[in-house]
Amino acid sequence: MSLETTFPTTPPTPPRLPPLRRLAARCMRNPLGGVIAALVLIFGVSCLLSPHFLTGFNMMIMARALAFIGLVTIGQSILMILGELDLSVGAIGGLAGITGGMLMVQAGLNPWLSLVLCLLLGTACGMLNGVLITQLRLHSLVLTIGMAGVYGGAILVATKGVAITGVPVDISFLGRGLVYGVPVPFLVLLACLGVVAFVMVRTPLGRYVYAIGSNPEAARMLGLRVDAIRIAAFATAGFLSALAGILMVARLGTAQPSIGDTWVLAPIAAAVIGGVATTGGLGSPVGAVLGAVIIGMIENIIVLFGISPYWQSVVSGGIVVLAISFDSLARRYLHREA
């Protein structure tokens, strides 16, 4: 008996799946497949059920609303991949916005210089969080709850709760402007996401973040500068929150003390929906932003569908749970099929 007849020249092919299941399997092999599938499903259902959903105006307002929460989500997702959390991101955004308003209106500083100073302030606040967490060996969750109180309190001390009006119109296009129908804040979000995604995927720094998130002790033994990277991640989250805060000031035309109040839990939920593990080491900022798109879409359709305000939390929470479950169940099903 010859060898040619004993061993086949080509490896055995796996059983051929039906086309739809094959497409689903291909989707699920992609780490973002689940969230994209959930997004497409919600988008399709929304298009079919509401005549107002797929209009230019509605797409524009959804993109603009996404920009602010999306920026904060990028920062929070980096921290979550690192195994950390920052619950003061909303307060940092609010503090940066208020400081910007005060510098521009009360101090009469050049608006662009004010914006740069606010971004530096946000970065410094984030960095301070990181330094305190790494040097005092504190849990990020506990420390940032306290720091949220400090930054939020500083807003009230500075403003006495009153909004700062008269923000120069020079910066209004940053929040309200459109470029070929696309809101400027959304373009800022895309630019930031592009840079962060590049760093996370294509540079050693990104790989270090995943390594630290997976096993910080192992990363430390490998010689990685774990504390420095954690501080840098908190500073990045602070910078992005400040950017969101400033864009919101430009959008509203006033510096509101309430800016950032709703930016605490939504970015965490978005990141989890987008596949970022709360235990660290898994997920991507792109997935997190897609999670934010899902949340934004749900908030949008709740109004478009005319759901009672008393049911809004139930419905949005329920859809979020469905979106996460859909991803998990689909993966389990395909795993079993294989």
């Binding site: 399709g44 298009c47 079919l48 005549p51 107002h52 959903f53 797929l54 209009t55 105006f57 509605n58 307002i61 609303a65 602010f68 009230l156 006495k160 709760g161 009153v162 909004a163 009006t165 209004s172 929040g175 309200r176 919101m248 959008r251 509203l252 035309g253 006033t254 509101q256 003390p257 309430s258 800016i259 109040d261 709703t262 908030e299 949008n300 109004v303 478009l304 005319g306 009672s308 305000p309 008393y310 809004q312 939390s313």
Partner: protein, 306 residues
Amino acid sequence: MKTAFLLATALVLAPMAVRAADDHAPLRFVLIPKTVHPWFDKVNTGAQAAADLLGKTTGRKVEIEYRAPETADVSSQNDIIERAIATHPDGLILDLLDEKGNHATMLEAVDEKVPMTVFDSLPPEGMDVTAVGADFCEQGTIAAQRLAGLIGEKGEVAIMIGVPTAPNHTRRAECERAAFARYPQIRVVATGIDNDSIETAQKQASAIMQAHPDLAGWVACDAAGPVGIGQAIRESGRTGKVKEVGLDNLNDMIQLIRDGVADSSASSRPEMQGYWAVIAAWQRALGQKTPKYIDTGIDVLTKKNI
């Protein structure tokens, strides 16, 4: 491929088809308050009553869609207003959190030709919008003057501010302080912040009364505050010794007046605000001119008239 093409076509054409069918639809107004709160439920009740009346008398149904932000935050409210604009209603009825912060979004409604009416707040300057409501300053002044009378125009008083970032709450507080300042023997010894929460108001009021045992009376700046104050007065056993003039007409507030814990309440008329806001919105939807301001007045609720 064919299926995908048909699905895409259906998605693009569906909005047009439904919009064409909308020509004979009822008049639809979207009511957006500051946040979810029992006071706004009363506004909604008045709005629904006006819609029913208009529907019966004109033969064309009027629908009110109530869309409340979960938190009293300008950007959240703007998002809801924008989403409502996307549905192209016949009118928006808004309680603005901050007319300057809401301005850009209101301009979008103007661009999309959606008429607006505001209630319980004032529109941005230069905008042709009817405002329905009561004067916040007058309401605070009435409460403070009544308390001054109850305590013999002398003694220590405290003010409970609602949400420090809410312009109507801070305005009432300013006017209450100004009213007390006219009485040389009255001293404002404490200011609490309840964030429009009954529980917080109760805690704050209890602590303030502990710190100021000679406190003679309370006024508040929001609807939840006076309820918490009343509960704190009752718990401390100082009913009758510490006077309270409340604000607005939540059921709990009315009960406190019935029980003799609170003397009275300077109440705006939320049902009437909702009612007249719908009437104004309906007139605007029909292209008619409407008044610049509709004052729905303030009631002083006492044991005798509730």
